[in-house]
Symmetry: D3
């Protein structure tokens, strides 16, 4: 059966290798992770996603560690196991401590709880939040 499978560097096209090389250089690693190998089945998606992630996750108005924490928060809310594991690793590399990870999950849990209280009561938005 046709299936999603990893494209390894050895079997990759020149275009795919160019993206893989840029990932390795940018991240200073020897190996690209499964995410990139699996989406490489479509070269356009690979290139576009990498260019976008590189732009969005680079330092800007927000600190790189803050961006990783936000990525984890979204991945936990969406229940993406792969994304939680990989961005938790990136966050640790970027300096996240264990107490910070625990506190992050506490905030994520609380936000998911109060989101439902607000939705369930169909609470109207306060005037001052709209001005």
């Amino acid at each position: 059966m046709l299936g999603s499978r990893a494209i390894e560097y050895a079997n990759a096209s020149a275009d795919t290798r160019a993206v893989f090389d840029d990932i390795k250089a940018t991240r200073n690693t020897d190996e690209v992770t499964n995410f990139w190998k699996y989406i490489a089945g479509d070269e356009k998606t690979l290139r576009r996603t990498w260019e976008s992630v590189k732009e969005v996750m680079s330092p800007g108005a927000l600190d790189p560690l803050v961006k990783e924490l936000v990525y984890i928060a979204v991945s936990v809310t969406n229940n993406c196991g792969y994304c939680i594991a990989s961005h938790r690793a990136s966050a640790l590399k970027a300096g996240m401590t264990e107490p910070q990870f625990n506190e992050l999950l506490a905030v994520v849990g609380m936000a998911n709880e109060t989101n439902r209280l607000a939705i369930g009561h169909r609470i109207p938005i306060d005037r001052q939040f709209e001005d």
Copy 2:
């Protein structure tokens, strides 16, 4: 029809007023927001939720502004309009700039996109993320 409705300070019980007073003192405001007024229909939920939010959102291993950004990220992913409006206001008060808000949404959007690529390809977690 029995309905979710705001409990105003003037009509509140002594217990509810005590929580409202603590919210106003802690946040240094004259008025509690609709969220607290609507969940006050159940005094136990009001007290428990306020004590929990106070504990979780106070400074700790993570900066208060970072916690607000995470709150917004979850609320956007869950599509809670009230929560986006109210925590955007809290984040602005805590120092969030407009470029930071825009960058936050860019990260939230990207995380939601790559979450689905990882889920759709059913990508196995890399060994190094498990060690």
Copy 3:
């Protein structure tokens, strides 16, 4: 522009009227709600959905009020404003009290919170839950 619009009884086909009549008889009301009028643009969907809802929501192993509470819990988690409003009304008709509604939202909020703690920590399932 072609748009989702309500099919009123006066303009409905004989097949649609037959379903509307059954809804009114089963629920003992004079009028069908917007949900049925809007999905009536497709007669097959109207009939299939009504037959399914009638089967699923009728008394069985679970009490009708319990089923309405579960319906609200799902609708709050999915953030369906229409569904929260309409099933809250059905639940009130079936005997739900205001303290029960408040307690329901407390459970829904707590479940959404602990779901994320379990997902975020990627907690393995205890052996005893699998036996």
Copy 4:
């Protein structure tokens, strides 16, 4: 412990066997998949779900392959691993190519991203979309 378990043809009631036989005949296969075996613990749910799926997924205004692609898109957004695997198989049988699957995931990812940008900015709906 009472548990969700597969109902095999050999142990099934006459009513369950009748549904299993219809699934096998309609899909021209020798075996029903786990989905049907697991929901067969409740005969009414088995019969209703099968009749509904048969009606909804049969050729109509939309092509069967398009329906399978939509099923995958929803299953990826909801993160249902079983559903992604089974409907990916059905889509391949219905003629989906590997480039189509990859492009499908690209659209699903992009939609999940722009959904959050629209939600986060609380963008008002343009007049022309309402007319």
Copy 5:
């Protein structure tokens, strides 16, 4: 790599042991489940979550079994495997029968379906639900 890991009683602090002891006494079991062991990495989260769950899940306006059913409904909608398994076990202990579990999933499935029909057609809320 720093990782989420279970805190066992033998290695736990006095504060953590006190919470574990209360869980065991309240639930009349010899062992706390993985959920509590994994969130114990942060003592404040452990204590707050336990106190909250104890308050929310104790008998009140709703029956304890109804609360467990609602917990399962939310966990299924959010796709939290751990939570489905653990609250299914709690529900069985509280008296849930196999037909009740099957009927619960039928309601959860139907609610998820009709939620999307209401959302997709952008159905306006009927006047009578607002009064």
Copy 6:
């Protein structure tokens, strides 16, 4: 208060105007929709998102109308009102008929229902889907 607001062409920078001009030329319209005006607060996000949407939604292995249907399916599942309205309009422009829209919602509803049955029963993936 700093707020998400539309950037109108008249007040836009040269870079933003260049993207707006490309949107208008590509889509053959006189006006960009609110989506682009609101995300234009961050020029990088505007340009990246437009380039990505243009690449992903252009004809390829999948037909443009199919892509719009998939976009609607995701937006309904995520409950993004703006996205449902805008992509419904794009789909109608691309040739979607009213019966196709209704059938699309029927498939989306059914997928959301069966997703939860599969998740709730924690159904193991059939061997043949993995080969």
